[in-house]
């Protein structure tokens, strides 16, 4: 299982939509994909997958259930949604891989916020006892063991937070770091990329692969913006930054959601993020 976190120093860059499209893209290539929403304070990944029916469970209530003294871990299937991937394939004559969604929870229902507050009280992620970290590592390892995905995609929390840090620096093999052409985004992202590249890792885990993606891109940049972006490109030893153009069709893809065709801009971008996955649909 390769764990890929999608991170942005600033919000509003289209991160969750990219996560959803990445899941579709990888499933269309026949991969087994789990998607998890770790943006606890502003969860919305379930909207991107057009989860219509009311649901309960999710990452927050799962972790909350592990914070008590119950001896057995909670049932995973009560917290994970098995998405109907036939809807991805439509009329296409290829086999898609399964996609499971573990939303943060049924936000914005009041019970979700109550659970989130209780989680913060009972299972702080920075707790030196290690319980918070163990709970997250346990969920990560369990998803791998029970669902056997090829990919775990994580929608990580924006900014500098303990949870965002856990997702990116501890769980991930690859971090897709979205940056916009603004000074605050470039400078904040630069610091985070440096941190990711020097992050201490658990035994058995290699260095983090950082993939910068330039989002909300116009045609031209101010010179100082270009200088900052060149710095990020050099840090990541890449010849050019992957770009997500600011395009009405891209925005429309959000409205189309799970059912719509994957926009060309995303297909091209995702082929660059996942270069080893081939381009033939249904090939595993």
């Amino acid at each position: 299982m390769e764990t890929v976190s999608f991170y942005s120093y600033k919000g509003g860059v289209g991160r969750s939509l990219l996560v959803a499209h990445a899941a579709r893209f990888l499933a269309m290539l026949g991969n087994r994909v789990v998607v998890a929403d770790f943006d606890f304070e502003a969860p919305g990944l379930h909207y991107k997958f057009r989860v219509a029916a009311p649901f309960s469970g999710g990452v927050v209530s799962y972790l909350l259930a592990t914070s008590d003294d119950a001896s057995a871990p909670p049932a995973l299937n009560a917290h994970v949604l098995d998405l109907d991937t036939a809807r991805i394939a439509g009329e296409a004559e290829f086999e898609t891989g399964p996609v499971w969604l573990m939303p943060a929870g049924p936000a914005p229902k009041p019970e979700y916020w109550a659970d989130l507050q209780a989680l913060g009280d009972r299972l702080p992620f920075g707790d030196p006892s290690g319980r918070g970290l163990l709970a997250v590592l346990d969920l990560h390892a369990r998803l791998e063991q029970e669902l056997e995905p090829d990919y775990l995609l994580i929608d990580a929390r924006t900014g500098i937070t303990e949870l965002g840090s856990l997702a990116a620096t501890v769980l991930s093999d690859t971090v897709v770091t979205m940056v916009t052409p603004t000074l605050e985004s470039i400078e904040g992202t630069t610091v985070v990329i440096q941190a990711l590249q020097s992050a201490k890792r658990l035994e058995g885990k290699g260095p983090i692969r950082v993939v910068p993606v330039l989002a909300r891109v116009g045609k031209k940049f101010d010179p100082w913006v270009q200088t900052g972006l060149d710095g990020i490109r050099e840090m990541c030893s890449t010849e050019r930054l992957i770009r997500l153009p600011h395009d009405p069709k891209v925005l429309n893809s959000e409205l189309m959601g799970w059912m719509g065709a994957l926009p060309l801009a995303y297909t091209q971008l995702l082929q660059e993020i996942f270069p080893s996955r081939g381009t033939q649909m249904g090939q595993r």
Binding site: T66, D69, S71, P73, D121, R122, G126, D127, P128, S129, G130, R131, G132, L133, L134, A135, L137, D138, L139, H140, A141, R142, Q145, I160, T161, E162, G164, S165, L166, A168, T169, V170, V191, V192, A195, L196, S198, A199, K200, L202, E203, G204
Partner: protein, 163 residues
């Protein structure tokens, strides 16, 4: 330590004043025993009400540690205090302190095999309880390794930026 509000404050206030009257130094055994009893009661009450009791257990551990200074481990009270200090440190969510206390007590001269085994058992039981609670993470990474990593994260902050 003692605060003006919260559960059990009336129990320990007079004891706290007595302790303070000694300049915060190691008090007599009777005072410390009463402080320990009050702190344990407070921690258990907090737990019973579903309130995080880590700080209360840290207080228990601190009093037990001071009691342990008054009695050698050859004395039954000394052994009880040493075990109590380690147990309470674990309950406070501070395994690093628990291990440091245990290392110190295990290194004391004249420590019996039974007492050493008992202390190690306390630490091992706590680790095993976490391994049972988080079986997937324990199998993959090991509880002690994850705890050590958690301490590093705590020290260096999110993304290591506070290091």
């Amino acid at each position: 330590m003692w605060t003006s509000d919260g559960l059990g404050s009336s129990v320990s206030r007079s004891l706290w004043l007595r302790y303070n009257s000694l300049g915060g130094n190691v008090a007599d055994a009777d005072t410390l025993n009463m402080l320990v009893t009050g702190a344990i009661w407070r921690a258990e009450q907090l737990q019973a009400q579903g309130i995080r009791a880590n700080e209360a257990w840290a207080e228990v551990s601190s009093w037990e540690e001071q009691l342990a200074c008054l009695f050698p481990q050859t004395d039954p009270e000394g052994r009880i205090a040493r075990r109590g200090a380690v147990r309470a440190a674990l309950k406070s969510g501070d395994p690093e302190r628990a291990e440091a206390l245990a290392d110190r007590y295990l290194a004391e001269k004249g420590t019996s095999k039974e007492f050493k085994a008992g202390l190690r058992e306390i630490l091992d039981d706590a680790t095993q309880a976490l391994a049972n609670h988080f079986p997937y993470a324990a199998k993959r990474y090991g509880v002690r390794a994850a705890q050590g990593f958690a301490r590093q994260i705590k020290t260096s902050g999110a993304f290591g930026l506070a290091a």
